[in-house]
Symmetry: D3
Subunit: 172 residues, 6 copies
């Protein structure tokens, strides 16, 4: 049995993430999804709590019967990046391969003997910043996240929260 | 859909925990299993890392097709117990009911408006301390944990670790 | 008896704060003044220590016989905003109403069942940034803070400190 | 104007503390009461939150018109005792004299040039441990705390909390 | 015997630092070199770990037989600057004089009774930012650091790291 | 060139430590001495600050011309032992071999691929606890620490400190 690992902040979980997850699950049996910056929420960079991010990822995975192949693990920020890899190893079930496009993440994991593969994605133009901007501007953002995630983001009234956070941080 | 929550340190996950999980899943649709003291490991009280505890719980759940009804969420210790409940709320998907026999946990969650139910268990005599002692004394401990968990504890050579930790702490 | 609560960083305490305090004390018996970011000082955003901020608020309150109606409570920063409200509840005597113009603070407290009222102020154009700039530019800032606070800021030689901090941070 | 400072955990605030406060206020104009271990609550050593301790001290002070002569300041624990004195200096309004019977506190403050005086008390036999034991044993504890504090401890149902904490910690 | 102290982040240690060290060692017997922000690494501001910075400083000192006159001490960041000076005192062997050009560091140490002297440097135009930029731009940076430090920076493949960090942070 | 590493708390540095250091320096070129629990002081377990421990080790090393072969590095406590090894790697110059008699330290470093050797000592009966007890009991402790360390412990008046700490902790 083989296990891969990806790291993200998932603010929110979008179709770029979702497609990468599905693609990786074609070449590995199980996948660990590390929810980074788990101790940060209600800020512009990190509007959603760790629990909300677990929920939005789980719903999208369950809709495609992928939930039982995944582990969703929260890891808080650590300033020191070399310590961060050992923290991830300590918080996650064992894994062999990290999938990432981030050159620093690649260096750090290779530095502690973990195999790193490129995370091929056809949607690299999508990111959390863009989605949050579309929400604020009243543009169509729902097509950029999996349908169950979009529904959940409505349920928790995410638009009002993002507006309140933005207004607050602009004042400071 | 309803969701319950239990909290434990699961050092290790044993049949008392496992029976409680199965019992609760008869009256609630989904269950959040909070792995507490997640930032502590390789000590007498907490020999296993958060990742190892996720693995030992998952294997036992998967063996009985319960994994997809559960969320396993790690939460680090917080000194201030009133802050701890809000930390759990922030790290977990939404839940309605906490199952516990611990009077303080009951007070704390009721204090923030969460429903609390008694966790009926027929194996209240089992706990992590007893299992770790049996391991050290060469007694039969495997019957006290689910079979997949016992197998995993052998795989990670847990007996050698517990011996090393005990020897170290006795010296200090 | 009723109790309100306001949150600020008070860098420094100015007449906008002071008028709000006096206005709120007309409709509530007692007021908790939370000094936020209490663990930060000697930086551009937070030049004064928690102790200095307690002192500058107390002197202004005592000058108008309001000190005995107030609690001045320091609360350190917490990254996670949902945990922050429970931290405030834990550090403060009981209160019923939070007064704020900040939409995020409003959402967070309403989310945990606390009543929130708008903080009417006729001096919303005054803030800490503006006062610190006036100090650096040699402009008249003293009329923007209560007289006892201005006197205290001279006593602790605050101008020299703000200049030193500014010079340091510009270099980095 | 002169200012003294005392440090305690006040779990709970009792007549030994209260007499010391009154005695010190005869020789100094104002007194800073530092509530230590402010980030700890709902444990056997520290059952009450910082906010509850502020409330129980304030009520006792107000009953004797002493509130306006005092500052109640919360300070969290710091492992390193030499750093702890500078933390107290940073969180408190300026003071000249520390009153303590604790030889280590004496050494630490004298080490940073603060004057230290002995805290004469006629009630040195009273302490928090004893009061909490009396509560658990159903003995008369109310005469050991100021009357307004006793009333407050009933209001917040402190006996039930101390029982729940004790039961929990005995199990662990 | 007299002892001085300097504080820096040394990202990397350069000839401006090195000349200052040599100059100070002409008027004091021993020198403490405090490596600040020791808990930060692999970021644009702080690419090197504390251990790597100890190594690059040591090699330069040993090449000039200065190592035995120096103590290299790591100190992690503290938000509160008044607490920071006491942390430095606690982590370092005793010292009498701080050498600095930073007006805030001067104020802070003088505030706790430490003598502060100006750190005369003929190379004030050199700083870590400039060196890291030259590395990224393929310009000649090696003449700006002591020769043994340059050699060490090659050994640990520092250019690849700085590129990876820069690429990562630009994306975020 | 080869480098070894030892870890200790050195409360205080004694002849058991000193002999081990000298013995190791016969088979390795340089030695890193990690001062653990560096963020703890003025407690019974850890009476001395990190800075004082650096001083007492340095004086003993300098007396035997060993200082330039050693690096003295402070590392704060980390709860999670698997993270602790990566913290040590990050704070220290590169090393190949850890010398220890502690079975847990052995497991942890071997788990991350570091070679571990037994630390042969002819003085295993000496430890910090015993020395601190002798100090309190007025027994001869000076022969158990290197002479320059004994002299330094007198200079900083360590006996008075240990007495004050003991008296304080007994009261709590």
């Amino acid at each position: 049995m083989t296990r891969g690992l990806i790291v993200g902040r998932f603010q929110p979980y979008h179709i770029g993430h979702h497609e990468a997850v599905k693609r990786i699950l074609k070449e590995t049996d199980e996948l660990i999804i590390v929810v980074g910056s788990s101790d940060n929420s209600h800020s512009i960079q990190n509007p959603f709590t760790a629990g909300e991010r677990i929920e939005m990822i789980s719903r999208a995975l369950k809709a495609e019967k992928l939930f039982e192949k995944c582990f969703i693990v929260t890891v808080a920020d650590v300033n020191e990046n070399t310590v961060w890899t050992s923290k991830i190893k300590s918080y996650c079930p064992k894994f062999e391969t990290v999938y990432t496009n981030n050159p620093l993440v690649k260096q750090l994991f290779e530095g502690v003997g973990v195999k790193v593969k490129k995370m091929v994605s056809q949607r690299s133009e999508i990111d959390g910043v863009k989605i949050r901007e579309k929400m604020l501007n009243g543009e169509n953002w729902k097509e950029l996240v999996p349908a169950p995630t979009a529904k959940y983001l409505d349920e928790i009234n995410s638009l009002a929260r993002i507006k309140a956070i933005t207004e607050k941080e602009e004042k400071e």
